[in-house]
């Protein structure tokens, strides 16, 4: 008996909720540093702050042991410009990453990543994370360095010859990080969703003095009083995707990725930028085939693609060491489509594992895929079912599963405005990982979390006592419990679908002032007429309902930011019909949005507002000792 329906069939009744219900009960926790989100950035922030000798509390909506986009695993430590085999200068690499997005990258966090992610990796090794081929399992594989036993990835190499990406055994990381948190005395509150940032006297825009939360299993209300708070939760997911029964694998991230941090920061009055940026979700597992399952992901380094008759395609999933003249997946696929229609290539395509040298096949299948995010269960399932990479070609789903609709989008890259301390525009509030306005990988989250932790700890030493407003807590408590106080109303899934539909219609492929305004009106109608009827049957569904409210707020922020940018931008995948000129010079700037006294305020910051990366990084980190010493 393992499913709900089997239980009912056998017992004649539904199972009783297995956890004690503690609605309307509350727990107050006082700490120096509060970390919101226990993923990669959050664990590193907690560890780094705790090492400075301050009290740290970590709030995690799921379970810290495996939570976060990088929780199950990670196969590449990217942009490790300071590693001893790297052929690039970290400061120059950070400049390149920042400017590579038309200047819309977050220079501060990229500089931190490039300067410190190698130090972060070495610390991870001390905690028990595996980063080297110490048992000589992959001796002979290209890119392996005998002295350090690092496995350098060919990623970037055929084109840049950089050695900045290291292959790692990321399934070992999260348990090691959690263990280190516990060893350092970090108080971990798993299954607690942070719901609101608390500000001094409850004033929007004032110093952040902690947060409220609610337990996802018991419904208990939590009040965290903290001198400094670090937001390390996820960015917004599923804004444009109607999740019904396929919610778990509709997106790159689980449904729990609902932009709670951004929504909380907005309500508290923090300034955000690049919130208008979005991109078409090219991979959308669920509607399409799940990512790693079909030779269609960045982990498939060196795997050549062939057609159904074994004819090599002029394209690879991810370039390998010698594949200098082939396109990466997605680029040049329209030309291949034409050839398919003319009968020159036969569908489906396959990843040709058997044609690879054995050691290269082994490193891709048994290391990269097993270590990357959710890949291990895929490899294990295939292996148990008889897949033999020495004999079998893995099917690829390019073309046969179709293209993504322009309406299937993801909010990517927007986040909190920060300074060189990763401090936001609110006193006492810091940010790391995907809360920053930058695309980033596992090492980005780790390095920025680690940095924010030490800066927040330094702030704590100077900061006065945190005083929580009882009125603000009362208002938030009422908001949090509203869905369980009602006896009937709308289910979280339906509300989510309604929000996503509004975003698909009014803020996706076709962008105009009038569509944005209809979108905002529609979201307001949803907020007033439907969100106010949200009904939750238990603490789990209460959490999902509150996530809907985060998604709704996130959608509203996106529309406000979209209205504010009266220009199109190639770099932001932002194409307005009413302002078609791409990237006009006067609009080459960061548009910022925030709330003050409940009203939306639009501002701007110049591109490169952080100044010279190298000089400013060094000026703000004089006491830092790392592997990289600036020439």
């Amino acid at each position: 008996m393992t499913t709900f329906h089997e239980f009912v069939g056998n017992e004649g009744h539904a199972p009783v909720w297995p956890y004690a219900i503690r609605y309307d009960q509350e727990q107050e926790i006082e700490t120096d540093v509060l970390v919101i989100g226990g993923g990669i950035a959050g664990c590193w922030a907690a560890i780094s702050a705790a090492r400075k000798g301050v009290r740290v509390a970590l709030v995690e909506k799921s379970a810290t042991i495996r939570s976060g986009a990088g929780g199950p695993g990670c196969d590449h430590w990217c942009d490790t410009a300071a590693n001893p085999l790297s052929k690039v200068n970290p400061d120059e690499w950070a400049e390149m990453l920042t400017n590579g997005f038309g200047g819309y990258g977050c220079g501060i966090s990229r500089e931190i990543q490039c300067r410190e992610n190698y130090d972060t990796l070495l610390e991870l090794e001390k905690m028990g994370g595996k980063i080297r081929d110490t048992d000589d399992q992959f001796k002979g594989v290209e890119g392996r360095d005998e002295k350090t036993k690092f496995l350098i990835s060919p990623r970037m190499n055929p084109f840049h010859d950089t050695n900045v990406v290291i292959r790692v055994w990321g399934t070992t990381f999260k348990p090691a990080l959690k263990k280190e948190c516990e060893r350092l005395g970090v108080k971990i509150y798993d299954r607690v969703m942070a719901t609101a940032l608390l500000t001094e006297k409850g004033i929007q825009g004032a110093r952040v003095v902690g947060a409220t939360g609610v337990n996802a299993r018991t419904g208990e209300f939590m009040i965290f009083k903290a001198k400094a708070t670090i937001l390390c939760s996820s960015s917004g997911g599923s804004l444009w995707l109607i999740n019904t029964e396929l919610s778990g694998y509709n997106t790159m991230s689980p449904r729990a990725v609902s932009g709670d941090g951004i929504a909380m920061a907005w309500r508290a009055g923090a300034e955000l930028t690049l919130m208008e940026r979005s991109g078409v979700m090219g991979i959308t597992p669920g509607f399409k085939h799940r990512w790693y399952t079909g030779a269609g992901d960045a982990s498939y380094e060196n795997v050549m693609l062939v057609d159904a008759n074994g004819k090599a395609l002029p394209i690879v999933t991810e370039p390998g060491w010698r594949q200098k003249n082939v396109d990466r997946m997605g680029m040049g696929f329209s030309a291949i489509r034409e050839k398919v229609l003319k009968g020159e290539f036969a569908l489906p395509f396959y990843g040709d594992f058997p044609s690879m040298p054995e050691i290269e096949r082994k490193v891709v299948w048994n290391m990269l895929l097993e270590e990357e995010c959710t890949g291990k269960i895929i490899v294990d399932t295939y292996t148990e079912s008889g897949f033999d990479p020495g004999k079998d070609q893995l099917q690829n789903y390019a073309l046969i599963e179709g293209s993504s609709l322009p309406q299937w989008r993801e909010a990517n890259g927007g986040g909190l405005v920060i300074n060189w301390d990763l401090k936001t525009t609110l006193d006492g509030l810091y940010a790391a990982g995907t809360q920053l306005f930058s695309p980033g990988d596992h090492s980005f989250a780790a390095a920025t979390g680690r940095y924010a932790g030490r800066k927040a700890a330094a702030f704590v030493r100077e900061a006065g006592e945190a005083i929580v407003s009882k009125d603000q807590v009362s208002v938030e408590r009422a908001r949090v419990y509203a869905p369980i106080k009602r006896s009937d109303g709308m289910d979280w899934k339906e509300l989510h679908a309604g929000i996503a539909r509004a975003m698909q219609y009014y803020c996706s492929e076709y962008k105009t002032e009038s569509l944005f305004k209809i979108g905002l009106e529609t979201l307001q109608e949803i907020e007033e007429k439907w969100a106010s009827t949200l009904h939750a049957l238990d603490p789990h569904k209460l959490i999902r309902s509150l996530e809907d409210l985060s998604i709704l707020t996130h959608a509203q922020i996106h529309l406000h930011a979209s209205l504010a940018r009266k220009a199109s931008s190639r770099f932001l995948d932002f194409h307005r019909i009413d302002y078609p000129e791409l990237d006009p010079p006067k609009w080459r700037k960061f548009i910022t949005v925030k709330q003050a006294d409940g009203k939306v305020q639009v501002g701007e910051l110049p591109i490169g507002y952080w100044g010279n990366l190298k000089q400013n990084y060094e000026a703000h980190n004089r006491d830092y000792e790392g592997a990289w010493s600036s020439p």
């Binding site: 379970a63 029964e245 085939h289 959710t374 291990k376 079912s385």
Partner: protein, 95 residues
């Protein structure tokens, strides 16, 4: 046979299959699952109950972190099961 009135089974409805001969109800999967897909069985020592199957992210943590190999097996939904082809024979398989 008693038939109960119950809602449809969610899709997917069974992301993991427990083996009651091996599973001892330690609930490691319940505690590690990022989505709270499972709840502990009311009867101690028995396999967990799959309560929120459609929220599964397919991360595999329940199987990967299980301390008793074979106690829980992953069960890919049909439309997500990947294909492969034996190069020599052209025969197509999937899990």
């Amino acid at each position: 046979m008693k038939v109960y009135a119950v809602p449809n089974v969610a899709t997917p409805g069974r992301p993991a299959i427990f083996n009651p001969e091996i599973c001892n109800g330690c609930n490691t999967c319940v505690e590690h699952c990022p989505m709270d897909v499972f709840i502990p069985n009311p009867e101690e020592g028995k396999c967990p109950i799959i309560l929120h199957p459609e929220e599964c992210w397919y991360c595999g943590t329940c199987v990967n972190d299980c301390p008793r190999p074979g106690a829980v097996k992953f069960n890919w939904p049909l439309q997500q099961r990947g294909y492969w082809k034996r190069k020599e024979t052209g025969q197509v398989f999937r899990p």
